[in-house]
Structures are given as structure tokens and as C-alpha cells.
Amino acid sequence: MTQFLYIYRIDPAARQEATSTPEAAQQRMQLWMKWMAELDAKGHLKDRGQPLEFGGKVVRGQKAVTDGPYAEAKDLVGGYSIVDASDINEAVELSHGCPVFLGGGSVEVRPVMKMDY
């Protein structure tokens, strides 16, 4: 088993659409819960991960601290999770039902490097 990082990238404008009515928010939430629960039930969910605030600082050295990323950006990292999969193909396969796609977002799937000597 290899660990993979799922990086959820979302379009902040599209997420407004997901909560345009309370019922829409409810439905979107239910899809996420279902998807996460399935990953978990099959033993793939290593770590649920964390959501991230959209804004922050970018530091490029002590004197080069800037605001960012900006909420206007199209694909902001909204959070991450860690899954267990046998290879990258399975990790990609497992991401297919992710509700992030409904909001025009994407999942970046990155293998965690192994500490092999």
C-alpha cells in the first residue's frame, strides 16, 4: 500500500452555487459524507485531513512576505486528505466519485514518497 495525498482544488465562485439554497447545500454535504464514508468503509481513508482557509501569506524570505493566495484565484487549495491505495491508478480510480468535481473543482493526486533505502 502506498499513501496518496488528495489535494482538493476548488473554484470559490462555484462554491456559492453549491450553497445557493439550503437544500442545495444539504445535498452537496450528503454527497461528500457518502463519498468519504465509502472510502473509509473500504479501508482507503488513512487520514480525513484538514480544510484550509483560502487566504494566507506567501513567504519568499524574511523580507518577501506577501498576501495570498487570493480568493479570486480559480483553483484554490481547499483542503487535503490522505488515502491508502495499491498504486496511482487505484488512487485515481478512488477519486472518481469526489463531489469536488460538481463545483468545477479538481483533485490533485500525489504519491507520498517512500523512505526506501
Binding site: R15, Q16, E23, A25, Q26, M29
Partner: protein, 416 residues
């Protein structure tokens, strides 16, 4: 943690009430934005971390903090609730004032005031109902439009126009106002319409329909919590809603087809709602006059007491419809009365009563008028006439489920 059904919709009405208490009704749009922000945030966090133990408290905390931010940033440029202006100005009183707005009792009172405000006499009844559904029940304009078979754009316009009238007022309706009694009748009427839209509405059988019924019951219950509003008419309204809603589970049969009232499997009626209905009808059985709500509830109660169609006290029902024709006459009431007469005195008398309905031309597009004619023709043995009436009824059907049911009836007559 599971997500409880309609959590966001339920919380929406409560949060908007608390926030308009702080911001003032003229800032309704701002309150709605803050609620949407809170939902956005909930979605971002919960989708990864899971639903918290107390999601309502979580949402409320987010809305509260956001409200504090908004007031701090905008209080020099903006007026918020006029009667809270001083309290919101000072940092000493800001947080306790905002907390007070989120207290359960404040939210309940604000929801009541909002309900009364939505039923402003300047607004057409359909707009009143749409506003209640949008603001207090958290339905989006598109969802309301689909339940009411109205175009989405038209419904959006209707809701927007209504909100403009609401936001144009400096404050919500004062529950101690001299107009209270009048406005209370308007509120009851709007809730009655809301319930009927769910129960009898022309749109197809969808889960939203039953939701409308339960929202109407929830808001009527809220009304009953207020002593001045808990009048006999309000109890009777709540009773009739419960007694009708009890039948919802039996309205669709095992094959998913519409099951007409007389054919329903009565064991599927919701006994808990029936009981609640009786209890509320008792509470409302005081005062000098039996309103249309009392009579309608009483009719539903007679049905609920009968285990079968045959055991029904149809004579009592005819009498109640006679009273109803005095209090609130309408062709639909007359139609139901005629059906009761037919059940009581046989199909010939039923047909006669149907043909004697005053203003029956107003029923010409109502499928259940020819359907009733067809039913009594069938019972007295004229299958050909019955079939023709059922075919006519089917051509007037307002949704596929009605059409399938009436077509089936027509075919059954042709076969005999």
C-alpha cells in the same frame, strides 16, 4: 455524526430571524448573505472533518461571529436595527446584544414577527405564501416554483417584490399592534394555503409536497406557542392540518399509484397525527363560532374515526358540509357535499346534488367534478355514461399520476 434531514433549511429560517433582529429588516439581504457564508463555511469544513456533534450550534457560532464582524466594520456607515443602535455602538454592549439575538426565545419571537410581516395586506396572498416559504422555511425560489408549478423567473420576481416591501418597512410587525387580530387571520389563511398547496396542489407527487404540509404544521405550532395567537381558530387550523396530513402515507398505494380517499388503506394513516389532531380540535372547541377551519377539521375527524368507508357517519358529514356552505361556500365544498350525499342516500341523490351545484361552471376544469359524476353513474349502473365522464376527467388531469388514475377508472368502466 449523521446530517439530520433538512438541517440547512431549518437553520436558515432561525439564523435569518436572529440576524435581522441585529441588522434590521431593511438589511434582510445582508442577513441572507451572512447565512449563506455560514453554510459555505460549514460545507468546506464538514466535508473533510465530518459533521460536528452539534451542527446547529456550530452554524450559529459562525453566524454570530460574522455578525460581530459586520457590525464592527460597518456601524459608522450603516444603520442596523434602530432600537439596538446604541447597544451595537459600544464594544461593552455589542457582544451581549448579539448573543441575545441568538437566544432561542428571541429567535422564536422574531420568526413570529417575520411571519406576521410576510402577511402584509399590501402583498397578494401568493406572495405572502412564497415569502413565508423562502424566509421562514428556507426554500429557494426555484424549489417554490417547482412546488407551485410556476416558472422560476416569475417566482424569483414575486419573492424579490415581496422582499422589497418587507425591507421597505423600518421594523417588523409589532405583535402588540392594534391590527394584530386582522393580521393573525391573514397569517392563518397563508398557512392554510401553504398546507393546501402541499396537500391538494396540482404539481406531481414529489417529496417537496409533503414537506410543505409539515412546514405548515410546524409554523402553526409556532403560532400556538404565542398565547395571543393560540385562539380557537388557530387550534382548529392545526387540527385540520394534522388530520389531513395523517393520510399522506396512504395517498400512494403499493404500486406507487395515486390512491383516492375512499379506496385508501386506512391502516396506513398516521395514528400519531390523528391523535394530535383530535387533541388540538378539543383545545379549539371553545368560543362562540365554528369557523371554516373548525368545520373542515370536524369533517376530517369523522373520517378519521371510521375504520372503513362504510362505517363512516356520512349523515354527520353532510350536516357539516351544510354548515360549511353557510360559512365558506364554494363550488368545491358543494362538490364534496354532493359526494357525501351520494354516500349517504345513494347514487341517484348524489348525481342530483352534483347537477344542482351553483356556479358549477367554475368546476369545469376541475377533474374531480366529472370523476364524481362518473363514479355515481357507475354505481347506478350506467357504465357508458361513467366511462365518458372518467375520460373527460382524465383529459383535465393536472399531472401524470392523476391522469393514470382516471384513465384506469375509465378503462374499468369500459370492461364491465
Amino acid at each position: 455524526m449523521e446530517l439530520s434531514e433538512h438541517l440547512f433549511r431549518r437553520e436558515s429560517g432561525r439564523l435569518v430571524a436572529a440576524l435581522t433582529r441585529i441588522f434590521g429588516i431593511h438589511n434582510l439581504a445582508l442577513a441572507e448573505d451572512v447565512v449563506q457564508d455560514a453554510f459555505c463555511r460549514a460545507l468546506e469544513v464538514w466535508k473533510i472533518r465530518g459533521v460536528p456533534d452539534n451542527p446547529s450550534a456550530w452554524l450559529m457560532a459562525v453566524a454570530r461571529n460574522r455578525a460581530l464582524d459586520v457590525v464592527r466594520k460597518q456601524r459608522t456607515a450603516q444603520t442596523f436595527a434602530p432600537d439596538l443602535a446604541r447597544a451595537l455602538e459600544s464594544e461593552w454592549t455589542l457582544a451581549p446584544t448579539v448573543d441575545e439575538a441568538f437566544a432561542n426565545s428571541t429567535i422564536r419571537d422574531e420568526q413570529l414577527r417575520m411571519m406576521f410581516s410576510c402577511c402584509h395586506p399590501r402583498l397578494p396572498q401568493e406572495t405572502q405564501v412564497a415569502l413565508v416559504l423562502n424566509i421562514l422555511c428556507g426554500f429557494g425560489a426555484r424549489e417554490i416554483a417547482s412546488a407551485f408549478l410556476t416558472g422560476r423567473a416569475a417566482m424569483e420576481k414575486r419573492v424579490a417584490r415581496g422582499k422589497k416591501v418587507l425591507a421597505g418597512a423600518t421594523r417588523l410587525f409589532d405583535l402588540s399592534d392594534a391590527e394584530f387580530g386582522q393580521r393573525l387571520s391573514a397569517v392563518r389563511r397563508a398557512l392554510y394555503l401553504l398546507f393546501n398547496e402541499g396537500y391538494h396542489g396540482a404539481s406531481a407527487e414529489t417529496p417537496v409536497r409533503a414537506e410543505l404540509c409539515f412546514e405548515a404544521i410546524r409554523l402553526t405550532t409556532l403560532l400556538l406557542e404565542m398565547p395571543a395567537a393560540a385562539q380557537p381558530d388557530t387550534w382548529a387550523l392545526a387540527a385540520l392540518m394534522c388530520l389531513h396530513a395523517a393520510r399522506l402515507p396512504a395517498r400512494v398505494d403499493a404500486t406507487g399509484e395515486l390512491s383516492p380517499f375512499l379506496d385508501q388503506d386506512r391502516t396506513r394513516w398516521d395514528a400519531r397525527l390523528v391523535q394530535q389532531g383530535f387533541a388540538w380540535l378539543d383545545r379549539g372547541a371553545t368560543g362562540p363560532v365554528a369557523s371554516a377551519y373548525h368545520l373542515e377539521a370536524a369533517i376530517a375527524a369523522v373520517h378519521a374515526q371510521a375504520e372503513t368507508v362504510e362505517q363512516t357517519d356520512w349523515k354527520a358529514i353532510v350536516r357539516l358540509y351544510d354548515s360549511m356552505m353557510k360559512v365558506a361556500p364554494s363550488p368545491v365544498v358543494a362538490l364534496n357535499r354532493a359526494i357525501a350525499i351520494g354516500q349517504c342516500d345513494g347514487p341517484e341523490r348524489g348525481l342530483q346534488a352534483l347537477h344542482e351545484i351553483a356556479n358549477r361552471d367554475r368546476l369545469r376544469r376541475y377533474p374531480f367534478y366529472p370523476a364524481a359524476l362518473g363514479e355515481f353513474e357507475r354505481r347506478r349502473g350506467d357504465a357508458a355514461a361513467a366511462q365518458a365522464y372518467f375520460a373527460m376527467a382524465a383529459s383535465l388531469a393536472r399531472n401524470p399520476a392523476e391522469r393514470r388514475f382516471l384513465d384506469r377508472r375509465a378503462r374499468e368502466c369500459a370492461a364491465t
